[in-house]
């Protein structure tokens, strides 16, 4: 069983420190619910684990068993067994979904998969996710609805079979049926031994996938690491108890002012 070990991790983006000392260990058998208000570093942590070039690690370490993740390229991290199901998967015009999937599967295997076997796996996986097969023949994520993009992320997870999957708001954009389908897939993969770190703002997904643990990130630090009962508590009462019980002041999600201000033209527009 693989183990992801993060120690004293600090990371910044555009010179601003977002992660301020993360200590976290996830076993492959676990499903960890990752909670916290917007803008406190949850997505940043997932992106840092997978190696997004926008983020700079200034201190600390990430190991997958004895592999130093921070010394690995993004593709090596994927091949080592890490997967990030993205919050906003990019659209890549011209790149056919099935070509991409096949190239990804081949990148994970020593021997290239045969055409027959690839389409067999693809067919089984799309059926499991109740995805129209034609999504596989279209440009990658281009013109996909929000729900289709998220299912496409899970399709990749199914085909690449990572050891630990990091899912960033995978439930946003999913309708009730799609949420059930995706959570069924997650449950199956849990049984097979895949580990999960799942960000979501809604208890519904967590009710369906039954996490074994819950962590809460506030101000770039993990302030709660405990049993799944925190999910229900936060869903019902919000994060206020963190301030009253733990004495931690929650930073407001800062939004930079738009540098363009309303000028003369705008005023004239209003007068008219």
């Amino acid at each position: 069983m693989a183990k992801l070990i993060i120690k004293d991790l600090h990371a910044e983006v555009d010179g601003k420190e977002i992660l301020k000392g993360i200590d976290l260990t996830i076993d492959q058998k676990e499903t960890v619910a990752f909670l916290g208000p917007n803008g406190h570093g949850k997505s940043t942590l997932l992106n840092v684990i997978i190696g997004h070039p926008r983020y700079r690690v200034t201190k600390g370490s990430i190991f997958l068993d004895d592999l130093n993740v921070l010394k690995m390229s993004v593709d090596q991290r994927s091949k080592a067994g890490l997967f990030l199901g993205m919050q906003n998967p990019v659209e890549i015009p011209g790149v056919i979904n099935s070509d991409f999937l096949r190239a990804s599967v081949n990148a994970h295997n020593k021997k290239p998969i045969s055409t027959y076997n690839f389409y067999k796996v693809l067919d089984t996986s799309t059926k499991e996710l109740r995805m129209p097969f034609d999504l596989a023949t279209r440009s990658l994520n281009e013109g996909f609805s929000g729900g289709e993009k998220k299912r496409n992320e899970i399709l990749q997870l199914l085909m690449l079979e990572p050891k630990i999957a990091l899912l960033d708001e995978i439930d946003s954009g999913l309708d009730v049926d799609a949420m059930q389908t995706v959570s069924d897939v997650i449950r199956k993969e849990q049984e097979k031994g895949m580990g999960f770190l799942i960000i979501s703002h809604y208890a519904r997904l967590f009710e369906l996938v039954q996490p074994t643990r819950a962590i809460v990130m506030i101000n770039g630090k993990i302030v709660i690491d405990g049993d799944p009962s925190y999910i229900k508590r936060i869903d019902q009462t919000g994060y206020e108890f963190i301030k009253t019980e733990l004495g931690i002041e929650i930073d407001k999600d800062e939004i930079d002012m738009n540098k363009v201000s309303l000028g003369e033209c705008g005023i004239k527009e209003i007068i008219r």
């Binding site: 070039p53 993004v74 593709d75 993205m86 890549i92």
Partner: protein, 263 residues
């Protein structure tokens, strides 16, 4: 200089397929009959070859080019009469120094033209594609799509003017030029130009020259593809759509193989 005339006499209901090779210094004139439908495959260009096309009333033509060798400079001139429709796909995998000038004259009311270019420029290639579309009659429509990949020390230029002349009201024109740049040492220029001399028209252009977006590379590499494989896949996706302009499966396969070999 040779001059050859091909008359296409097929019925409107199906495309008549012809394959031609433009030889050095050769000037070929193709004239369609009214109400005919023609598919012409140009298997290669040669130095200083000129292709002149005249589409008679309500005729339609799809012209698909596959340029594999050096053609130095070449010209394509197309005149469209009333209601005629012209579609061209130009797959450019030529080498060295090339200059292609295309002039499409929408002379008849309601005539339409679609131009799609995919060009791969590598090593020390120096390529210049100049695509001009003249809207001379009213309610004419044109779309010019130009896709390029520029790498190594090569140079690639997409230029051209879409002109809507006086009297061409109700016309629509659009130019798209996109060049993906791979190396610091290559040079790519997209220079679209619109000249409008009439009201009640729609005209637009878009030009993009740049590297592969970082987030596209990140997405693909996060699924295990190494950077070179990710770039290959993105480039392949950029140029591959040109294959839909070729009716013959073996030519489509040849284009795919050219993309893979030259990348």
């Amino acid at each position: 200089m040779k001059k050859e005339i091909i008359l296409c006499e097929s019925e409107m209901t199906k495309y008549e397929t012809r394959s031609i090779l433009l030889k050095e210094n050769e000037q070929v004139q193709i004239t369609t009959n009214s109400n005919s439908a023609n598919y012409i495959f140009v298997s290669d260009f040669s130095n200083s070859s000129v292709l002149n096309i005249c589409l008679k009333e309500n005729s339609k033509m799809q012209l698909s080019f596959l340029a594999k060798h050096n053609f130095d400079k070449a010209e394509i001139n197309v005149d469209l009469e009333k209601g005629a429709s012209f579609t061209a796909y130009f797959a450019d995998f030529s080498k060295d120094k090339e200059k292609l000038k295309v002039t499409i004259n929408l002379k008849g009311e309601g005539s339409t033209a679609y131009w799609h270019l995919a060009s791969l420029s590598a090593n020390n290639d120096n390529k210049d594609f100049n695509v001009n579309i003249n809207h001379i009659a009213f309610q004419t429509t044109a779309l010019s799509d130009n896709y390029g990949v520029c790498k190594d020390q090569s140079k690639l230029v997409f230029s051209g003017c879409s002109a809507i002349q006086k009297g061409s009201h109700g016309s629509h024109t659009r130019q798209n030029s996109k060049i993906m740049v791979f190396d610091n040492s290559c040079d790519a220029i997209a220079r679209p130009l619109l000249k409008i001399d009439e009201k009640d028209i729609e005209a637009s252009h878009g030009a993009v020259v740049g590297r592969i977006p970082e987030d596209h590379l990140f997405y693909l590499t996060s699924r295990g593809l190494d950077e070179s494989e990710a770039k290959r896949l993105i480039t392949y996706g950029y140029l591959k759509p040109i294959t839909r302009g070729f009716f013959d499966e073996s030519v489509r396969e040849e284009i795919i193989s050219l993309i893979e070999r030259r990348m």
